[in-house]
């Protein structure tokens, strides 16, 4: 279960620590020193019941990834509250939590540990993870030698097989090849049917329509809509086509 109340995240741009001493001194002398505030996410509220899948849509820079950081606990919101029940596995970027120099095997253990599992559990699921990612031959190769598709396969395999209560996926399904994408969509449906809550950020509207029960539409940090999938996706499509303005 996920509840967000008026969540907002502010970035400060151009302050002293950001620009360094020299530029700071120059800006001060010219009288041009001012700190800009930028609200990457501004007033998002929603409630997601357990076992549902939320799709987050919006153009680039809408604040989708920043919002996911707040939900997964990486960032503390500047305003508002996030309340979560259950364990979270978040895939926020391709290589997130991986170390390029370590082997696939070592990375599975490291990433598994970061997701809050026990050694026993990761040891037991290790073979399943490797099999699902279809990377058996690469077991002892360094992570950085994998292609980006393979990296995302591995990342998805770990996050989905460690059985989280909440699974967060940021654009990570977009890179796998066709067959793996089908496999991962099937896996995701399985995770949801087992009662997990899932959040998916995707630019593939068809994928969002097919998988999600709820949709959140963000635009420049503001919440445009939250609710049932089809009507909001229709409106978003119209917006993308330039038929409506917001």
């Amino acid at each position: 279960m996920i509840t967000l109340q008026d969540v907002a995240i502010r970035y400060r741009i151009g302050n002293f620590r950001d620009i360094g001493l020299k530029d700071y001194a120059i800006a001060r002398l010219k009288g041009e020193y001012h700190v800009k505030e930028f609200w990457a996410v501004d007033g998002v509220s929603f409630h997601l019941e357990q076992g549902l899948m939320l799709g987050i849509i919006g153009m680039n820079g809408a604040g989708k990834s920043t919002l996911l950081k707040a939900i997964s606990g990486i960032m503390v919101p500047s305003r508002g509250q996030v309340s979560i029940e259950g364990s979270i596995a978040a895939l926020l970027a391709l290589g997130s939590g991986f170390d390029g120099d370590l082997t696939i095997k070592e990375n599975i253990f490291l990433r598994g540990a970061m997701l809050g599992n026990t050694r026993q559990f990761v040891t037991d699921t290790y073979q399943d993870i490797l099999d699902f990612s279809e990377l058996q031959e690469f077991e002892d190769r360094p992570f950085k030698q994998l292609s980006s598709g393979m990296k995302s396969r591995l990342a998805f395999s770990i996050a989905s097989l460690v059985r989280p209560d909440i699974l967060i996926l940021d654009e990570v399904l977009a890179v796998g090849d066709g067959s793996f994408r089908a496999k991962s969509e099937k896996k995701m449906k399985e995770i949801i049917s087992n009662g997990a809550t899932t959040i998916l950020v995707s630019h593939a509207l068809d994928q969002v329509r097919e998988l999600s029960n709820k949709v959140l539409w963000l635009h420049k940090g503001k919440q445009i809509a939250f609710g049932d999938t089809q009507p909001i996706c229709d409106r978003y499509q119209q917006f993308l086509n330039g038929e409506i303005k917001i």
Partner: protein, 255 residues
């Protein structure tokens, strides 16, 4: 607290393993460098100061080794600790993990290296003909205090390093200055009493002197000296803890 530790133990172990693997990656001698590096350093210093500067103090090698051993531990731990947050920025900005684990992993790595060197140190002590005494067990005390101090200083430095990268350059100069003020290769006894007391302002010197008092001079430090050693450690650890507590959520914006 204990429950949290149990949850994080696995991650901590994996991080320690990773740091070790990365440190000795592509080196032929691997972990042997933990032993070789301080030994070679000792050899160079010992040659320079015995033959070039002509020092003839009794047990000079052990005197030198005591200083080098502890200072090297301090320097390795704090320099690694300073970078520990930023070096893991890609993980910290994408995965929700407790940030202090990265720092403690580096601390443990430095402690293990120190422990290995300590074994060599005792071998040298035996070769030099210094008798082993029961009081040697008291050396656990300065080691424990220095470990706490290292963690504290590293917390302060790593937080500052996130906000101001300049710290890296300033700290290397500071470390050099501290080394010269730690009486590693010279003796403070040639200075007047008041100047000698000023050396106690340097925490690393306090721990070095503790070692020398026990091992070379067979002298048990006073209670006040023990308190001083603990005071430095806990004050710096306290400051570091407060900084982490306060800025924990702000680090991310500057990585």
């Amino acid at each position: 607290m204990l429950k949290r530790w149990r949850e994080q133990r696995f991650l901590f172990e994996e991080l320690v393993k990773r740091d070790f693997k990365k440190k000795y990656k592509r080196t032929v001698l691997g972990i042997l460098w933990s032993v070789l590096a301080p030994l070679l350093q000792l050899l160079v210093m010992s040659l320079v100061f015995t033959y070039i500067f002509g020092r003839t103090q009794p047990h000079y090698t052990i005197y030198l080794f005591s200083g080098n051993l502890l200072f090297h531990y301090y320097s390795e731990a704090t320099n690694g600790g300073m970078r520990s947050l930023l070096a893991n920025s890609s993980i910290i900005s994408l995965v929700n993990v407790p940030k202090y684990l990265f720092l403690f992993s580096r601390m443990l790595q430095a402690l293990i290296n120190f422990a290995i060197t300590l074994v060599i140190y005792f071998i040298f002590v035996a070769i030099d003909g210094l008798p082993f005494r029961l009081t040697f067990f008291a050396l656990i005390y300065p080691v424990a205090m220095l470990t706490i101090l290292n963690a504290g200083v590293s917390m302060i430095l790593s937080a500052l390093y996130v906000f101001f990268r300049d710290i890296e350059y300033l700290y290397s100069i500071f470390t050099m200055l501290l080394m010269y003020l730690s009486a590693i290769f010279y003796s403070v006894t040639t200075y007047p009493e008041q100047i000698q007391r000023l050396f106690l302002l340097n925490p690393v010197y306090v721990y070095i002197r503790y070692f020398r008092d026990i091992v070379i001079d067979n002298k048990f430090p006073s209670l006040a000296f023990h308190l001083l050693a603990a005071g430095y450690a806990f004050i710096l650890f306290g400051i570091g803890y407060l900084i982490y507590h306060k800025f924990n959520h702000k680090f991310l914006y500057y990585m």
